[in-house]
């Protein structure tokens, strides 16, 4: 599966990620957590080759990410960003099936797979005929997940997938997604700045700060055995928020 081996990245003079190693646990959900600018998105983008490391290696099933190997590896990774990244010129169905059609999958296979995913993501089939601009925020993220899951990838990468949604839709999708991740037993890496969301999804939480991993573990680990003062500070700042009462 995926392994980051001592990767580091700077943008100009700014260090985005100090030398870091990470292997997300197979079949589980790993959450990259931290304040904005901590390097969690950079880490996620390194995993799908949108950013190349200055040093170190990113391996997928033992193959290093490189220009020659990257597209084949990406076909085995699903990637969803905050606003979904759906292409506005294609309707929802064409967005979902774009890669499968490009790769020449059979129409019958595509139809069957889309039907399956509609059921999984609870999207009414007629919504697939609409363009992204005609979908609600929640529908857009469901369609984006359908697109990411279309080829049944080994790894699912989600960059703040629910951050742009209203609280209600967000709560609903959180519940559904957790169920789906468990059912599919996918290896998931999810980026969030929200402790509640991290606690909800994360089998393991990777807390980051200023380009470094500060602590890895469960929420309980973070609460009971904080690695340093920042962990305590970060955790308590968010727990003070009354909305988190449910999660705790």
């Amino acid at each position: 599966m995926l392994a980051l081996d001592n990767v580091s990245k700077s943008f100009g003079a700014k260090l985005a990620l100090a030398s870091t190693s990470l292997v997300p646990t197979r079949g589980r959900t790993t959450v990259l957590l931290g304040p904005s600018g901590c390097g969690k998105s950079t880490l996620l983008r390194l995993m799908v080759g949108l950013v190349s490391p200055d040093a170190g290696r990113v391996l997928f099933d033992g193959v290093e990410l490189a220009p020659a190997s990257i597209d084949a590896i990406r076909h085995r990774i699903g990637y969803v960003i905050q606003e979904g990244g759906l292409f506005p010129h294609l309707d929802a169905r064409a967005n979902v099936t774009l890669l499968a059609r490009y790769l020449g999958r059979e129409a019958a296979w595509i139809d069957a797979r889309v039907g399956e995913l509609c059921g999984l993501m609870r999207i009414p089939a007629d919504a697939l005929a609409r363009y992204p601009g005609q979908l609600s925020g929640g529908e857009r993220q469901r369609v984006a997940l359908m697109r990411a899951l279309m080829l049944d990838p080994a790894l699912l990468l989600l960059d703040e997938p629910l951050a742009a949604l209203d609280a209600m839709t967000r709560r609903e999708l959180q519940t559904e997604l957790k169920e789906i991740f468990a059912r599919l037993a996918k290896t998931v890496v999810l980026v969030t700045h929200d402790l509640h969301e991290a606690a909800w999804f994360g089998d393991e939480i990777v807390l980051m700060r200023e380009g470094r991993i500060v602590q890895r573990g469960s929420l309980d680990d973070l609460l009971a055995r904080p690695a340093d003062g920042f962990v305590t500070q970060f955790v308590h700042a968010q727990r003070a928020d009354p909305r988190l009462a449910v999660a705790a």
Binding site: R45, V48, G49, L50, I70, D71, A72, I73, R74, H75, I77, Y79, I81, Q82, E83, G85, L86, F87, P88, H89, L90, D91, L98, L99, Y102, Y131, P132, G133, R147
Partner: protein
């Protein structure tokens, strides 16, 4: 941008080769030149030669470039012009001119029998009353009011030299040439400067004063020809030589008047001259109306030519411009050089570009016009392709990469469709501008609605000018509407 050039050049050269058996006559863009071109054309045809006349190709520079390159075989010009503008010498006798032109493979011959030079004129009645026949006679008439064109007032071969040569006592006032005739007729001025074959000499009953001290340089009408013409077209050349001394200044004035004041066609005027060189060609027949000109016999030919100019150049610009824009968008170091170069082309005045392309392509007419329109069309298309692609939101670009689509597929399936509105906007702009710019092509004989505009300008005929300008404007609107419809079908529904 590189690819179309060799092909265009090749076609241009082939074009020349095929045209070799036809005697190609050019003319400048004013009435007298059109008429003399027609006279030469009909003379050559009457002698059995295959001949064509590229009417009103442009100014002296364009004609000279065209004849040097062999695009045309001969055209009418004036000895003084050949000496001053082409050879940059003062000597304007035929022998000196031929010596100067020989190395270029050119010559001048067949002095037609009249001069078209600066002259001074008065109302004939007034001149008779005062007994003024020559410019010398003006020295004793200090009370006469001179209204002279600004150009004449300042040229060395105009007023400054004239006043020295003839010791004239009058103080002239500057006056627009077009107004001077009316001012003279209304007796607000007494003396004006004219061209000696001006059409209005007869209309206003003017007397052209004799230049008795030979101050004005000689602008004798002659044919400028390629030295191989007598051998390639012996019969036509023999017939053309017989035109020598056949056109008097009065006759030329009458022919100019037939075109400018009576609205007769150049071909008709030339035909009636050749039928009876001795008599005046004044006759009936007023100017044709706008409506009859608009849908005249040439309407469909001009429309076809105009459409070919606009859309052939546009098609080439799309084929070259979109890849250029893509390249600029993908290669940051290329972006500014590419955009600056296509922008620079836009700053070259169209007539200058056409004049420059004639020797480069070795031909006149459609090809240089197409190349010029192609070059002008590039900027909006390249620029809008570039900005359409670079304006795509980074998350969308990254989503396409993260899907695992290779670069070519990303371009085809995602980026170009997302940039479609911008690219189509650029193509639309180019098409509409092309419709207007294509009217300029008539200056170098490429036809289109511009043919009527150039003729209208040369004849000071507003109806003719409008008969060219109105369909060009209508076509621009039509093209715009057409592209609005195309937008509906070509821009993906999700982007509208």
């Amino acid at each position: 941008m590189k690819r179309p050039w060799p092909a265009l050049l090749l076609l241009g050269v082939t074009n020349c080769a095929l045209a070799q058996q036809t005697l190609v006559i050019g003319s400048k863009r004013f009435t007298e030149s059109y008429i003399l071109g027609e006279v030469a054309l009909q003379t050559a045809r009457a002698a059995g030669a295959q001949a064509e006349h590229k009417q009103g190709m442009g100014n002296t520079g364009i004609l000279f470039a065209a004849i040097k390159s062999g695009s045309i075989d001969l055209y009418p010009d004036y000895t003084g012009t050949v000496a001053r503008e082409l050879l940059e010498s003062e000597a304007s006798d035929l022998e000196s001119l031929n010596r100067g032109l020989q190395s270029l493979g050119l010559g001048v011959a067949v002095p037609l029998g009249f001069e078209d030079t600066y002259a001074l004129a008065m109302l004939d009645s007034e001149a008779q009353r005062l007994g003024v026949k020559s410019i010398s006679d003006l020295a004793g008439q200090a009370q006469l009011r001179f209204g002279l064109s600004h150009e004449f007032l300042n040229r060395n071969d105009g007023w400054p030299g004239l006043v020295r040569t003839y010791a004239l006592p009058q103080a002239p006032s500057g006056l627009d040439h077009g107004l001077a005739y009316e001012a003279l007729a209304a007796r607000q001025i007494d003396v004006m400067d004219i061209y000696s074959t001006d059409a209005k000499i007869a209309k206003y009953k003017l007397r052209v004063l004799l230049d008795d001290r030979h101050f004005f340089p000689e602008y004798e009408a002659v044919l400028v020809y390629r030295l191989d013409v007598p051998q390639r077209f012996p019969q036509a050349w023999a017939a053309l030589q017989k035109l020598q001394g056949r056109i008097s200044a009065d006759r030329m004035v009458a022919m100019n008047a037939a075109a400018e004041l009576d609205g007769k066609g150049f071909g008709e005027i030339a035909a009636s001259f050749l039928a009876s060189p001795g008599s005046s060609s004044a006759g009936s027949g007023g100017k044709a109306s706008f409506w009859s000109l608009l849908f005249g016999d040439d309407f469909w030919r001009l429309t076809r030519q105009h459409l070919v100019l606009v859309f052939a150049s546009l098609a080439a610009a799309i084929l070259a411009g979109i890849p250029l824009g893509v390249w600029a968008a993908r290669t940051p170091v290329a972006a500014q050089p590419v955009l600056a170069s296509v922008g620079l082309i836009q700053t070259v005045p169209s007539l200058a570009l056409l004049a420059f392309l004639i020797p480069v392509l070795g031909t006149i007419g459609t090809w240089p016009a197409l190349v010029a329109l192609f070059l002008y069309s590039l900027l909006p298309i390249v620029r809008n392709t570039y900005s359409g692609l670079t304006d795509i939101a980074p998350p969308l670009r990254e989503s396409a990469r993260a899907l695992g689509l290779p670069a070519g597929a990303r371009l085809r399936l995602v980026e170009l469709p997302l940039a479609a509105r911008s690219i189509l906007g650029g193509i639309k702009t180019s098409a509409v501008i092309n419709v207007g710019t294509a009217t300029i092509a008539a200056f170098i004989g490429a036809g289109g609605y511009g043919e009527r505009i150039t003729t209208g300008l040369a004849l000071n005929d507003n109806a003719m000018l409008l008969a060219g300008a109105v369909p060009a404007a209508a076509l621009a609107l039509l093209v715009h509407a057409l592209f609005e419809l195309l937008d509906q079908s070509l821009i993906p529904a999700g982007l509208r």
